[in-house]
């Protein structure tokens, strides 16, 4: 896998990832990775949002993932700082445990002619999944194709996630989807797709997908973990069910299980706290990459899965 390691590109699709958690009726900063965007980091860490306020507050109030393209004149409170940092788009993903908001994860991206990838939000309408909105960077054709595509239950990455009510990690998007957006995905260089079911109060169906391209990947490493009981008195652990890494290759092992206990490492921390986490500048905890994001996926009010991506 050394050849792969040498081939890891440095430019990534996502510039900023941050986690906001509710405290005293407002969303406050919990963790985040801003790369070199120190000013935007400084502007963010002292920020907080009431319900309905700014992008995180809107995701909270509307209880749904929100895509925002273009900050100027919008409800985005940090528009000036974002403009200075070159950030142009953002996606907010609320994390609910039943009806309780646990956190809002926000990713922010910068536009240019080469960054390719996709962060999409799909919602159920009339029995199929329709594109709510998405950010695609330079993959304009793929964006257009996606806007004119719908997924029945069980079909494609969004339909598969919807049917399974579980995160899924798809490989070879260009060849894998065949007629479903395949040609366009292939031309856009999309390789790996991560799909997440977004649990929201009221039972509406939302699926969020992160589609990563080889040149400007969303991440170099993806992991899917599943939680289970681990002993008496309600102890929990997470078992690695799937994963792929540009350095290490496949992370899954159908014979030997990789597990972490609650509070053990970043995945264990998410399992224990039930709150998403952004880690950086700690190679031991980020599998040697600069940063990692771990997000709990709730089902019936409890953490059922944890997904992590490293970049």
């Amino acid at each position: 896998m050394s050849a792969l390691a040498a081939d890891i590109p440095t430019a990534t699709f996502v510039e900023v990832t941050e986690v906001w958690v509710p405290k005293d009726g407002r969303l406050v900063w919990s963790s985040g990775n801003y790369g070199a965007l120190d000013d935007f980091a400084a502007a963010s860490e002292k920020q907080s949002f009431a319900k309905g306020e700014g992008l995180p507050g809107k995701a909270w109030e509307e209880a749904r993932p929100v895509v925002l393209k273009g900050f100027d004149g919008s409800y985005f409170l940090r528009a000036e700082a974002a403009r200075k940092a070159g950030l142009t788009s953002a996606v907010a993903m609320p994390i609910f445990a039943g009806s309780d908001l646990k956190a809002v994860v926000v990713v922010l991206c910068a536009d240019d002619a080469v960054r390719t990838g996709a962060i999409e939000v799909w919602h159920e309408e009339a029995g199929v999944l329709m594109l709510d909105d998405g950010y695609y960077g330079a993959a304009r054709h793929f964006e257009w194709v996606s806007q004119h595509t719908h997924f029945p239950r069980g079909q494609g990455l969004p339909g598969g996630v919807w049917a399974a009510n579980a995160p899924m990690l798809m490989r070879d998007l260009g060849s894998g989807y065949r007629f479903i957006r395949a040609d366009s995905a292939g031309k856009a260089g999309l390789t790996t797709g991560l799909g997440l079911p977004i649990a929201v109060p009221g039972g509406k169906t939302f699926v969020l997908t992160l589609l990563s391209a080889r040149g400007t990947p969303i991440a170099h490493r993806f992991e899917l973990w599943k939680t289970r009981s681990a002993g008496p008195d309600g102890a929990k652990e997470a078992v690695l069910t799937d994963g792929i890494c540009q350095r290490q290759g496949p992370l899954w092992d159908d014979e030997t299980e990789t597990t972490v206990a609650a509070w053990q490492g970043p995945i264990g921390q998410v399992l224990g706290s039930g709150i998403p986490l952004v880690k950086f500048d700690s190679a031991a905890q980020t599998a040697g990459y600069a940063s990692m994001v771990a997000v709990p996926i709730y089902r019936d009010g409890a953490v059922a899965h944890i997904v992590a991506w490293y970049y």
Binding site: G154, M170, R171, R178, G231, P232
Partner: protein, 815 residues
Amino acid sequence: MQKLVVIGAGMASGRVLENLFETDPQAYEVTLFNAEPRGNYNRIMLSPVLSGEKSFDEIVTHNEGWYAGYKVACRFGEKVVSIDRARKVVVGENGEAPYDKLIIATGSVPFIVPVEGRDLEGVITYRDLDDTNVMIEASATQGAKAVVIGGGLLGLEAAAGLRLRGMEVTVLHLSGHLMDRQLDEAAGYLLKRDLEKRGIAVMTKASTQKILGTERVEGVELADGTVLPADLVVMAVGIRPSAEIAKAAGLAVNRAIVVDAQLRTSDPDIYAVGECTEFNGMLFGLVAPLYDQAKVLAKVLMGEADSFAVKELSTKLKVTGCDLFSAGDFAAGEGREEIVLRDPSHGVYRRLVIENDRLVGAVMYGDTGDANWFFDLIRDGSSVAAMRDTLIFGQSYQGGSPLDPMAAVAALPDDAEICGCNGVCKSKITGTITAKGLTSLDEVRAHTKASSSCGTCTGLVEQLMALTLGASFNPQAVKPMCGCTDLGHADVRRLIVAKELKSIPEVMQELEWKTSCGCAKCRPALNYYLIADWPGEYRDDEQSRFINERVHANIQKDGTYSVVPRMWGGMTSASELRAIADVVDKFNIPSVKCTGGQRIDMLGVKKEDLPAVWADLNAAGMVSGAAYGKALRTVKTCVGTDWCRFGTQDSTGLGMRIEKFMWGSWTPAKVKMAVSGCPRNCAEATCKDVGVICTDAGYEIHFAGAAGLDIKGTEVLTQVRTEEEAIEMIVALVQLYREQGHYLERIYKWLRRVGMESIKAAVVEDAAKRRHYFDRFVKSQETAQRDPWADRATGGVASHEFKPMAEIGFKEAAE
């Protein structure tokens, strides 16, 4: 260096080589034949490759570099022609390879369903990467349809993968539920439901008759005549060990290559490993024992002592989101008890089978978090007596002291929703109980609305009442249907309709049955309720019927049967009597008797003769009299105005009309009727379930009589003027009884339970309601009015019931 030749580069032989090289890479000079043009890959992960959740590169176990590193002479894409044991050489298509030791690892071949059309293009099995690529290619056509034959592990993984790729997929499975080797009926139902939610159509009890098409596959025809269009047919009905090479070489081969505990064949220099082996009469299809075999064989090849032993196996399905697990022996049996946990709102089912205080089997669906723990308990064989009460809840509940099962309810947070229908939370219920001083379930229902709609939360509400009121809580005495449920017949009937439950496994899951598959009390009842409530939709489950209804004849004390053909209104003819006489002679039937219901009973018919007897009776125009069924039996009549000086109406004609209109319908208990032409009542109508007394003014409709264990005269329902009105009234009455009666509850008991007032209100006093019931009966008869004898005499239905045990065929196929 000794020469080791390996035939087959599959997972088993690959693991042998890994273990061997790990111990001593220099021990053998290895030559590896493989019919596939590639080396070892993780074949069981082909399903995720098909679905797109893995790439093929990820599942390659040994790449070119690995083989080169260990100096393995790879002869991939070359088939082995023979083994010359005398010269100790393997003969390949491209030449020979001498050996000191030989390993046969030829695996297995897919079982092909021997039907017409199996050789058409587009009909494939699912075994290797090439098959996977064919499927991926087939899915590239938009709107393409796939039929997967076989609802086992492999078939379902193929179906899910093809669906994810965008195909319209139908799964055909011969048995009554999916994965019937690994799952019980309850878990099979949940799996089916999950797959259907993915847009995969699942047809159980589906027998493939032929595959349609000229050059390419175009469809699949089933035994019942259904035709399914298909662009791709995947056969996944099991595997057969591939032992031809070994057999041709003169090695001992039974169903597979016979090996001992050291994996040695009948030739001491030849070993076999993997799916091609048979050990102690057992075949192998899952990977875990193959790896155990490989470990042993590697040691044996190094001269170390080791023995292969069969261990408990577990099953998991590689379909993301379908969480199932099964292990051990979960069949019911003498001395075994089962613990069942169902959580319908979350689609969870758990079943543990315990024997002698030890866990021997487990089936889980929806929440398999404790699977490993249960599997360890099965393998350890340790006593579970101390945790018997909380075992089903899993490892988390096995704290220091035994946990009261009520603790789970007590531990629920105040805002936990108890009644999903009405959105009532725990604190609302407990608070209202305390504030209002409520002591009964009805009071809680009235004040909080909890448990007042679908009723599935009734148990929870009662537990909350017990927690809040303590000893002062006295639960309502509802007599449960049986030990499998706390619900009574009335609740079950109501919930079947309210929740639109349309199969027995669905009822059991959604109504939280405490057993996995019910019992002889509840299954026949549920089968009847579903037939009555979902006519045309529900498929009669023969296995949920008692023997008489299953074979459509009454079993006698000597094991023979009695046969009673229908005689409409008690009328017969010379030709019918002649046919009966011929049947009696032809089949040496020892007794013929007139029944109390004006029919003829042939007693002493052998079971295997039944279809032929029925065929002859059918040929004479007679159908089953249902003398064995919870159904309309007889309509006894007097001769009426045709012959009788006192007759006021055509009682015979009316009786025949009623019987011809209503035969075939299933009822909660048997229904006997009679029509008397005048109040002298020669047909004894006033002790029947339904009776008609004809008068000069019209027809007096009676019902709820009894003349068996109980003796009771009928009650008068109403009087009508015309035959049409009489028929409508009787049909509506019977339909109301069909919809309200508890299984095995005769009409007179039903009346006692529901009261005359409610019956009259529905049938007599409200013409629209009466018509409604009448129409529902007519609708039900569209599918019910079929002669079961004809279906079995000539239609081949349930032919297994009438075969002597020794003739039951055995299909040799392993999965």
